[in-house]
Structures are given as structure tokens and as C-alpha cells.
Amino acid sequence: MSIHPGTAAKRKAPENQAAASAAKVRRRSPTRVNPALYLFPLPAVAVVAFFLVMPTLQAFQYAITDWNGFSAAFNYVGLDNFVRAFTKDSLFTNALTNNLKFVLLVVIAQTIFSLILALLLTKNSRGSILLRALFFFPTILSSVSVAFIWKFIYDPNFGLANSVLRTVGVDGGAYLGNDAQALYWVAITQVWFHSGQMMVVYIAGLQAIPRELYEAAEMDGANKWQQFKSITWPFVAPATSIVVAYTTVQSFKAFDLILGIAGNPPKAALDILSTRIYSTFANSEFGYAAAQSIIFMAMIALVTWLQRRLLRLTPKGD
């Protein structure tokens, strides 16, 4: 890819280092490392360096400016953008609150629900395999498609939910039209979208548990709940940390689903960090959008770290 003339020059330096360290390795190992091997990762390294790492570092630079993205002139404003986000911009703090609420809701609901599904479908019977395939299915759809399907379900006048309720003589709700509830309804959609995927992660964990443990527990007279607590749960703890971590990142980035279900830009009740960053960006406030995106990244890192700490304690607790 001849995207930028600068990359060729940049590649030189690590290559020389590489050759030097290869020389060191040569003495110790019986088969020597062919120097041509260092050419293999170069395209990937160059692409990642130039289009992923560099822009991310640049975001930190933009974040301390008032750049609008187009004019040549801009000022360095220090931490003003960060101060503005947390103290003067109710749209941003609203999106932040919504996002944390959404993540909390989805992580709790999806982790429990996907574990229940997995427990019910662990055995490899024909019916289980068929149901697993069905429950997994929504995961492969695009977020926009899922958003449209659920927009129809939630439509207060013509929607599926209210048509069903009407047939049993109950007045339906406004769902997304009700600002106090809207986020919960989208959380349900998100759980419908991805629980099947997390169920499969759990099934892999559950199937690794040796059967003998349950047989032994049954002989000791342990009931189902005691078996779950002392055998199943410790064994699925690693799967749980995967599910929780993945669900967290996934629900932080529910951008597509929100835009599809709520429109662009979404109303305040459904605005989350990623949609807010996009709106700020679309409003040509590049410096401020970059600052928001750094807060976004920090939030994901913080929440993930917190979960790691909390989850590590859980299995040991009992």
C-alpha cells in the first residue's frame, strides 16, 4: 500500500534493531532466524502505526485545542475542553449518565440471562443444538436492522407489542416515546441482540466441567442450588469475566443501535457517549470531540478495570 511516502523511511529503524537482536538469538538457538521474516509483519505494523496508533495519539493533541477542523488557525486551550465537558455541558453529562446506566443494565441483564440460557442448553441434544442456533441468530444481523425491527415492535400506534396487548384488552405503553423508560427498552433490545453470543461463551465454559463432580455431589446429598454454588459457579467464573468485559465494551459502543432506533441525532433520553461525540464532531467542534473521545476511552478502561477487581473477588467469596 503506497499510502504515505513517510512510512518507508520510518520502517528502516526497527528493521536494523531487529537484525541486531536476531544476531543475538542466533548464537543460542540451533535454527537461525531468517532475516526475511522481519518483512512479514511490516505491512500490518505500518498500517496499525499510521492509521490506528498515530491518530489515537493525535486525539490527545487535538483535545487541548479549540480547532474546528477546517481553519488553519487554532489555539491551545489546555484542559478547557475537559472542564467544559464535566461542568458546563449538560448534554455531555447527560450522555455520560445514560451510558453508565445503559452499560450497568445491559451487563447485569445479559450476563444473568445468557448464563440461564446456557445452563438450560448445555446438553448436546438435537433440540438444544437447534435452539442454540436460533438464539445465536440475532448476533449476525446489522445493528441498523435490529434497530428497525425493534422500532416496529415499540411503535406505540402500529407496533407489535401494543397490537399483542390490545388483543388481550390491555393499553400498551409509549415505550421509546416515554423519556423516563426509553433507555430501558433499548437495553432490552441490546440484550435480545447479543445474549445468544454470550450464551455460547458460557456453554463452552460449562461443557468443560467434569461430570463426575456432579455425581459425587449428588451422592453427598447436595441439592441443585448447592451444586450450582459450589461446582458450576467457580467453573464459569472465567467465562463470566469474558462475558462481562465483552458486554461492557459492546454496550459502551451501542452507537449503531441507538442511531437506528432513535434517529440521528438521538433525543437526549437516548443519547450516549458515542452518539454525543459524533454530534459534537458533526457540529465541527473537532477539538472538543477529541476531548470527549478521550474521556470515552478512559471510561471504558476504568469500568473494565473496576470489573476485573470486583470479579476476581467473587469466586473466592464463598
Binding site: A36, F40, G69, A133, F136, I140, L160, V201
Partner: protein, 271 residues
């Protein structure tokens, strides 16, 4: 007894919650708006393809479909190629360099797309990559390379070193060993990664939304999203669009279901 009844009840209810909306969408794509609202569950009166004709012709979904085919058709193999080259090198190099290259490439998994979209947009603007498919392909490749390297590199490291050594004693260079030994042996993990990437690239929305301005350059998810503004409650048209946008993934899923589960879960459990 009670446990088995409640087990069946939970599974049956959830199966209904998945099947019913999908069926209503499939039926609805053949209905008129009035017919849909009169009875969302009823079979369509006729299998008239009017809605599909309108979204394909009138709404440019046909050209968006082709754009999606081109973007996904190039992004997936390109990502796999670059990731397998890097994964191969990582599995053969030793010590610090192997660790450093792998670490550098995989580090990108921690960067969410929204975090660097502003600088990426500026950079793409300077390089003339805005509003064209090449830019989308590049963005797709970059954003998924880290996880592809993680999956493929992780697998290639488990291949027995003796095979490589035997091959180089036979006088094969690294390229020969890569293409005739490492690649064929990695087929399972390449297939898993391919499906994972296919689903991601086919459904990608953020990059088209950021980079594409001309309607003719839209990919399917973006074209679908722009529908929403124009046809607020014309659900039959939205449904026809949903069906069209989902068709390739759904058909592939029906035939390769087992591999989909393996692929997407590889992404989930390693992401």
C-alpha cells in the same frame, strides 16, 4: 418435573420472542403499510415484490448492495492476509522481537473506533480517502487487524515448530514455508476469523457514516440508516431493506452455522 416444565417454558418463550419479530418482518416486507397495520401476524395477501423493487431501484439500495459487496469482498481477505503474515512472523521469531511485534499489533484492540475518529477523519481528508470505497476498506482493515492478528497469531503459535524446521532444512524460504505449511495448517482459525470479519465488515456503520457523503458511495447499513429519516413509519419498505441487507449473512449462517458460532465466539472470548 417442575424444573423440566419451567425449563421448557423459558426456552419456548424466548424462542417465540426471537421467531415472531423475524417472521413479522419477513411477512411485512411483502405487505402494504395498511395491510401490515391491519394484521402484523397474517400471511401477506400476495408475494408482490413491489417493496423490494422500490428499495432496490428507487432508493439506490441496489448500488449500496454492490458497494457493500466490494468493500467486504476486499476488506476481509486483505485483513486476513496482513494478519496471517504478521501472525506467521510472530510464531517463528523468538524472544523480545516476537513479543514486541505481537504486543504492538494487539494493543490496538483496546482502542475503540470512536476514540480516534476525529484524527482519522482529518488524516483521510489529507490523503483523499474521504467519500470513496478505498477509504472504507482501509478503515475496516485497520480496525480489525489487531483482533485478527490475535486470533491467527495465537493459533499459529500452537503449530509444531518441527514442521517449520523441516521445511527450512528442505531449503524452503520463509515465504514458501508460510504459503505451503503455515497457511494450510491454519485453515480452521482462518475460517473462524473470516466469518467474524465478514459479519463485522458487512454490518459496519460508523466509518461509512463518517466518511461517505455521496449517496452512490453508500454501503448497505448507511443506506438503511438514511431510510429511517425519509420513511419514518413506512415499515414495509424498511423491512424490505432489512431483508436485503441481511440476506448474504443469513444465507451464509444457514449453511455454515457451526463455523459462525466458532468464529464470532473466537472474537468474543478473545476480544
Amino acid at each position: 418435573m417442575l424444573a423440566s416444565v419451567s425449563r421448557r417454558a423459558i426456552l419456548a418463550i424466548y424462542a417465540v420472542i426471537i421467531i415472531v419479530p423475524l417472521t413479522v418482518v419477513a411477512f411485512g416486507s411483502f405487505k402494504s403499510t395498511q395491510e401490515l397495520f391491519a394484521g402484523p401476524f397474517s400471511l401477506p395477501h400476495s408475494l408482490s415484490p413491489d417493496n423490494f423493487a422500490e428499495v432496490v431501484g428507487g432508493q439506490n439500495l441496489g448500488s449500496s448492495f454492490m458497494n457493500s459487496v466490494i468493500v467486504t469482498g476486499i476488506s476481509v481477505p486483505l485483513t486476513l492476509f496482513l494478519a496471517s503474515l504478521a501472525g506467521y512472523a510472530v510464531s517463528r521469531l523468538k524472544g523480545f522481537m516476537s513479543w514486541a511485534i505481537f504486543g504492538f499489533l494487539v494493543l490496538g484492540m483496546a482502542i475503540p473506533a470512536q476514540a480516534n475518529m476525529v484524527p482519522l477523519y482529518v488524516l483521510f481528508g489529507r490523503l483523499g480517502l474521504l467519500d470513496n470505497l478505498a477509504g472504507l476498506i482501509l478503515a475496516n482493515v485497520v480496525s480489525t487487524l489487531p483482533i485478527a492478528v490475535f486470533i491467527l497469531g495465537g493459533f499459529m503459535r500452537t503449530l509444531p515448530k518441527e514442521l517449520y524446521e523441516a521445511s527450512s532444512i528442505d531449503g524452503s524460504g520463509p515465504w514458501k514455508t508460510y504459503s505451503s505449511i503455515a497457511l494450510p495448517l491454519s485453515a480452521p482459525s482462518i475460517a473462524a476469523a473470516a466469518i467474524f470479519l465478514f459479519v463485522i465488515h458487512w454490518n459496519e456503520l460508523l466509518y461509512p457514516l463518517l466518511f461517505i457523503q455521496t449517496p452512490g458511495n453508500r454501503t448497505l447499513p448507511l443506506a438503511l440508516l438514511s431510510f429511517q429519516g425519509e420513511f419514518q413509519t413506512n415499515y414495509p419498505l424498511l423491512f424490505a431493506g432489512v431483508i436485503l441487507a441481511s440476506l448474504p449473512v443469513v444465507v451464509a449462517y444457514v449453511f455454515l452455522q457451526r463455523y459462525f458460532v466458532a468464529g464470532i465466539t473466537a472474537g468474543a472470548s478473545k476480544g
